[in-house]
Amino acid sequence: MDISQSKQICVIGAGQAGAQAIFSLRQGGYEGAIKLIGEEPVPPYQRPPLSKAYMKGEFAEERLFFKPMAWYEDNNVDLILSTRAEAIDRAARRVSIENGGHVDYDALIIATGSRPRTLPVKGADLSGVYDLRSIADVERIKPGMSEGRKMVIIGAGYIGLEAAAVARQMGLEVTVVEMASRVLARVTSPVMSEFYTTEHTAQGVTILTDARLSHLEGQNGQVTEAHLADSTVLPADIVLVGIGILPNEEIAADAGIACNSGIIVDRDTHTNDPRIFAVGDCARRPLVHYGRQGRLESVHNAIEQGKLAAAAILGKPRPAEDCPWFWSDQYDLKLQIAGLSEGYDEIVVRGDPEDRKFAAFYLKNGTLISVDAVNAAPEFLASKKLIIAGVKVAPERLNDTSISMKEIAVTALNG
């Protein structure tokens, strides 16, 4: 079998990773058939603005789309939208789709993404309770987002806090309910949690930590209250749920493809079936700069794995793997994150959080493994280079703002 001789490629999932694979296949000279199966009624679009500028109404819908419809026609990409892929028959090399149709493949890219975790409480099905994942979700939420209305956000992760910032700027009364003892507990350090709590509180958001949702109450099918385990009752016109996502791996697992909280892939995005690749949120991949495997929920990962899959299928050299990176916009704060901080043994803060311009560096055995940079692009960009190089960086230089990040990077890289 020579995968580079593929005549027909099927992609399941019209998110950023699936779209990138297609763009890179065509850019790389692949001329065979491409069929893209997507559940949503629209062509691939970028999701980050959904909880930011788009939600606020400052970003027109057509700007969300990576390519105009004409691109798919001109590039002979067959979009099968509003359609769910049902099953993969590996022996027949065929994906069955809802309503009885099917798509045959020589190579298959699974880019099924992830889905929001649902609230396991009574009242979760009331009207006015929303997830935030798709354009359709935002279209449902937006009409109710007017001044003075009460929004309760369950979960103080990035989605929850970004939505809180937008809602607050639109004049809503916002309460964030977080089960853990601090915001962003799953993804960052206490330093950053404290900073974002202070910021949101100053903006008028109420943040409740160590707070467990008991259930939601409603009238005539519409949510009206969120009840917490400690008997607190929060009036609510809108409840937004941002408690994490789950990989859509079932279609792969059901076909006997190895999964473990994510479809297991190698550096080239191969699954354990040589004709099947998995990319994006749904994939559990090697994290080459960290010597372990993991699932990344990010734009960087979607783009990188889309490119890796295309290169693997076309028989081209593997593109260099970047260190993971992320960003989050809240109010006028741009947070840029490089690397993964899990397992750090030292934090160095550069600058003063009170200036709303600072960075927290995470080191392990003296090596920089991650940075959270708030309105501090040089700290972010220099750290990316240092993390990939895997070099030791002197903590006393990192927190000395009289030395530029450029100088710190050059010294460490040449040291």
């Binding site: 390519k67 783009i303 960003w327 741009k334 501090a376 040089p378 960009l381």
Partner: protein, 106 residues
Amino acid sequence: MAKIIYVDHEGTERTVEATNGETVMEAAIKNSIPGIDADCGGACACATCHVYVDDAFMEKVGGQEEMEQSMLDFAENVKPNSRLCCQISVSDDLDGLKVTTPESQH
């Protein structure tokens, strides 16, 4: 509307009709202009839409904000006419704008 001319590092020119209000980056991505990655989709978070602006248009494209400046500070092969094209909005004034892409965005 404005005609934007993208020149790749080998000198090949590609002309695109861009709509007012979209960015020079978005017009490039929609028209599959090679040499512009724009990984973050225009959030000024990644510095992969670096271009060199034709000198005649340097004033018309406006100034850089602080975030863009510091992002560019770490890009490769930066010149005085370097910009991140996600931060340049298309308007009638930019008709005929010529931008050149660097050999690599990484």
